[in-house]
């Protein structure tokens, strides 16, 4: 059982992802491992997205107290975990986001979910 990390700079379609996995399996085969391609499954989707504005993390965390967590000593981003979508959004002060989720749909809805909250805490605004 292999877990493959694939880097997609295009919109990921399931077939392309599967092709990529097949290519990876071929590489492994050439290395000499016994490979059998079965039960291809997308487990985790990571997306990077950027807001056109910078975000004030302290205010963002204060407004969304238990769900958002910001620990500047540990990680420069504030993490926002959406329970019902099972997605995690990491917000950086520059306005870029990193979204992780089980599938593409949840990632997209997570971005839409968190956008209004970020919009409130824009840099020039809520300082």
């Amino acid at each position: 059982r292999t877990v493959a990390l694939e880097d997609w700079s295009l919109t990921p379609l399931n077939e392309e992802a599967k092709l990529g996995a097949r290519r990876l399996a071929r590489c492994l085969q050439k290395l000499g491992f016994k490979v059998r391609f079965s039960a291809f499954r997308v487990v985790n989707v990571l997306a990077v997205c950027s807001m056109p504005f910078a975000v004030h993390l302290v205010d963002f965390t204060k407004n969304n107290r238990p769900i958002a967590s910001y620990e500047p000593e540990l990680h420069p981003a504030a993490t926002y975990r959406i329970k019902n979508l099972k997605a995690t959004v990491q917000v950086f002060s520059t306005g870029s986001l990193t979204v992780t989720g089980p599938n593409v749909q949840s990632v997209a809805s997570a971005v839409e979910y968190v956008y209004p909250l970020l919009y409130e805490c824009q840099k020039p605004r809520c300082k």
Partner: protein, 318 residues
């Protein structure tokens, strides 16, 4: 103490006055008697006296308080154990022929709480190293007890949980310590403490306030030996810098360190970046980076009544 006999029948053998069976007996615990109020007959005697065995005077503070038996109880934290331990013998009779002591090992007491007691000792040691007051240690112990009873973090090293509890307690009391400071007194890595910290917050469903630059100013400045003026200036600079958002995305510790550097360079007590980095646990280059960000607006950042030893334009530029 024996209960006063009542009119209703109890399972306990009743004492009652032979002349006045309905009378409620009065206890005289000083003499150890039960007396009938009607006729004054002493009905029961040699009742156990609960007064103290010897008199203790409050003004003399002897090393041991003779009216207490055993150590002060800590019922909140322990399981309220009343076990007895065998301590090391003192007289000659406690040693057998080889010179080894008889009854060597103390009997294990409350093995379920043994790990917890160990952790309390560890917490106390760690707190002692950084001179934390009693209230923080008590809070840490409480947090640890809650986490321990919940058992959700059972797999983690107790020391890691203890260190994370110490960190949280400092935060909750309003005097946060940086992770690096906690690391310095603990054997656990910063990463592990951070992980345990997040897990504990989730397990106890609490959250903590965010750290600000001002929380650390007094400690860092005292450790560097900077006068009050410089400390106040550094606090002002750091706060202003965060308000004006000159340092987005920088850890408050780094900003604080850079502010201290700027304030100290402008005063008579100049400190090098290396010294400040040493105290704050921030890398040399990080201070330099943050300093570069606040340098352009240095003039506005200083408090209005600050006395400059080195004027603003002569501040070192890195």
């Amino acid at each position: 103490m024996a209960s006063t006999s009542r009119g209703e029948s109890l399972a306990l053998p009743k004492v009652q006055c032979p002349n006045h069976p309905e009378a409620l007996l009065v206890e005289d615990y000083r003499a150890g008697d039960m007396i009938c109020p009607e006729c004054g007959l002493v009905v029961g005697d040699r009742v156990i006296d609960v007064g103290s065995e010897w008199r203790t005077f409050s003004n003399e503070k002897a090393l041991k308080d003779p009216s207490r038996v055993g150590d002060a109880q800590n019922p909140l934290l322990n399981g309220g154990d009343l076990t007895t331990m065998i301590s090391r013998g003192t007289g000659a009779a406690s040693f057998d022929e080889f010179g080894n002591s008889k009854y060597q090992n103390r009997r294990t007491m409350s093995s379920s709480d043994r790990a917890m007691l160990n952790a309390f000792k560890e917490i106390s040691t760690m707190a002692d190293r950084i001179n934390l007051p009693r209230n923080i240690v008590d809070r840490t112990n409480n947090l640890f007890k809650q986490v321990y009873e919940q058992k959700s973090l059972k797999g983690r090293a107790n020391d890691a949980i203890a260190s994370a509890c110490l960190y949280i307690a400092c935060r909750q009391e309003g005097v946060p310590r940086t992770f690096k400071e906690i690391c310095a007194v603990s054997r656990i890595s910063k990463k592990e403490i951070g992980r345990c910290f997040k897990l504990i917050l989730k397990a106890l469903e609490t959250s903590v306030d965010l750290i600000t630059t001002g929380d650390f100013m007094s400690r860092f400045c005292s450790n560097l030996g900077l006068p009050k003026q410089v400390q106040m200036a550094a606090t002002f600079i750091a706060r202003k810098a965060v308000e004006l958002d000159l340092v987005p995305g920088r850890s408050p510790i780094s900003v604080a360190a850079a502010a201290i550097y700027m304030a100290s360079q402008a005063s008579a007590e100049k400190k090098t970046q290396k010294e400040i980095g040493d105290i704050a646990g921030v890398a040399d280059v990080t201070i330099r980076q943050s300093y570069r960000l606040i340098y352009p607006r240095a003039a506005e950042l200083f408090p209005p009544d600050f006395k400059f030893d080195t004027p603003v334009d002569k501040l070192p530029q890195l």
